[in-house]
Symmetry: C2
Subunit: 252 residues, 2 copies
C-alpha cells in the first residue's frame, strides 16, 4: 500500500480522493483543506485537517489547489525527504518552492466536482526529478488510470495550450452554433449527432485528413452566403478560421 495525502478540497482533489478510496493499492491517509466540511470524505472516514502542522506522514503528498496558489502555498510546506507533487497543467515543476522532492501528477481532463468521472480513461501526465520518485508516481497513477504518460514541464505547457484549443475553444464554437440556432428558431438537438461524429472521426484519422466544409473546398460563394447570416462578432471568427483552414490546405 502506498500512503497518500491530498492537499486541497476542490474538484481535482475530490475526484482524486474518490479514485484513491476505490483503489486497492492506495491508502488515503488524510486530506488537508482550509475548510473541513466535505460530506463525502466524512462519510468515508478520511481524516481532514486544516493545520499544516498536523499533516501526517505519507509516501506522497499531492497538492491539488488552484494554479495561482501553488507557488505561495508550497513555500509554507516543510517536508524534507518527502515527495510532493502538484496537479496543474500550466505550472512548472520549478514553481514548487518547498524543500522536498518535487514532481507533477497532472490528470488531463476538464474535471467538475459533481460530475461522475471514471479516472480509468483519463490520461495522467507525470514528471519527477529522479527515477525512484517517478516509479512511485507511476504506481499511484497506474492504480487509478490506464493511460499514464511521462511528460516534462515544457511538454506539459504545450499540452495545456493544445487542450485550450480542443476543449475550451471547441466548446465556445458549440456555444456559437447554439446561438445561431436559437436566433433562427432551430432546435440545437439537430446538430448533436454531427458534433459527436466530428469528435469521433479524429480518433482514427488525422484532423487535417478529415477537414470538410466550404473553406477547404475554396467555396467562396457559400462563404459569402454564410457571412450574411452572422453578427459582426461571429463574422470575425468565421473569417479568421476560414482563412486559417485555407492556409493549412496550402501548407500541405
Amino acid at each position: 500500500m502506498i500512503d497518500v495525502i491530498i492537499l486541497g478540497n476542490g474538484n481535482v482533489a475530490t475526484q482524486l480522493a474518490k479514485a484513491f478510496i476505490k483503489s486497492k493499492d492506495i491508502n488515503l491517509v488524510q486530506i488537508y483543506a482550509r475548510s473541513s466540511s466535505n460530506k463525502y470524505l466524512t462519510k468515508k472516514k478520511i481524516p481532514i485537517t486544516n493545520s499544516i502542522k498536523s499533516i501526517k506522514n505519507a509516501d506522497l503528498y499531492i497538492i491539488a489547489i488552484s494554479d495561482d496558489a501553488i507557488n505561495g502555498f508550497s513555500e509554507k510546506l516543510n517536508f524534507k525527504n518527502k515527495l510532493v507533487v502538484h496537479t496543474s497543467g500550466s505550472v512548472s515543476i520549478n514553481d514548487l518552492k518547498y524543500n522536498a522532492n518535487k514532481g507533477v501528477f497532472y490528470p488531463l481532463q476538464s474535471i467538475s466536482k459533481n460530475k461522475k468521472i471514471s479516472f480509468k480513461k483519463i490520461p495522467i501526465c507525470l514528471e519527477a526529478e529522479n527515477k525512484k520518485d517517478y516509479k512511485l508516481l507511476e504506481k499511484v497513477a497506474n492504480s487509478i488510470s490506464k493511460k499514464v504518460y511521462h511528460i516534462n514541464s515544457e511538454q506539459r505547457k504545450s499540452l495545456h495550450v493544445a487542450a485550450v484549443f480542443v476543449n475550451n475553444f471547441t466548446n465556445h464554437l458549440y456555444k456559437i452554433g447554439k446561438d445561431i440556432c436559437d436566433e433562427h428558431k432551430v432546435d440545437f438537438e439537430i446538430l448533436k449527432p454531427l458534433i459527436s461524429e466530428t469528435a469521433k472521426k479524429i480518433t482514427k484519422l488525422s484532423p487535417l485528413q478529415v477537414q470538410t466544409g466550404p473553406a477547404v473546398r475554396n467555396d467562396d460563394k457559400t462563404i459569402k452566403k454564410h457571412l450574411k447570416l452572422l453578427s459582426k462578432k461571429q463574422q470575425n471568427i468565421y473569417t479568421l478560421l476560414t482563412n486559417s483552414i485555407k492556409e493549412s490546405k496550402k501548407d500541405n
Copy 2:
C-alpha cells in the same frame, strides 16, 4: 413501396442508395449518373443511366449533386407533376428551376463515400411546397432515419452555418491542437479523451454552462503564458476566441 430515383453518384448519393436498398419501404428504381461505373450499385443490380431522357418513372426524384451544380442541372429536367428534391444544406428550395413539385431532403452529417455510416442517427431535414409532398418525404425519411425534422429554407441556411462552426471549425481547432503537440513532441493521443468528453458534455448541458478554461476565469496570467508558446497565426485565433468567451460571460 415508394419508388425512388437518385440523380447523382457522389458521397451523399451513394450513402442514400445504400440506405434505400436496405429499407423495406423503398424501391430504388434507378440511378442517374454521368459515369456509370459504380461497383456497389452494379452488384446490387440497380440500373444506372447517364441519359436524362432515359430516366424512368418514380414517386420521388432525389438530386444529390454538388451545391453549385444544382441550379443549372435542375433546368435540364422536365418532370411535370413529379416531386423532385435536392439534398443540400445551403441551397434554397427556390433555386430549383424545374417545372415540377419542389422539396428538400437534407441529411445533416458530414458524409464520406467510403466511411460506413448508419443513417438511423443522422437527422434528415425536410421541406416541401405542400402537405401531400411533405407526407411522402416524411415516409421516405422515416424509412431510413429516426430523426426527421421540418426545416424551412431560412432555417436550413442558418443550420448550415451553425454546422460549419460545430463541425468544420471544431475540426480545425483539433488540427491546431495536433500541430502544437507535434511541434513540442507530445503524443496527440493524450488529448483524445478530453476531445470526446467535451463533445459528450453538451449532449446534456448547454455549452455556455460547461465553459471552462483561462478565458472564462479571466486568468490573464495563464493566457499570457499560453500566447508565448504560439505562432503568430495561432496567437490571432487564441486571442479572438479568448475575447469572445470573455464577452459571452459578460452578456450572461
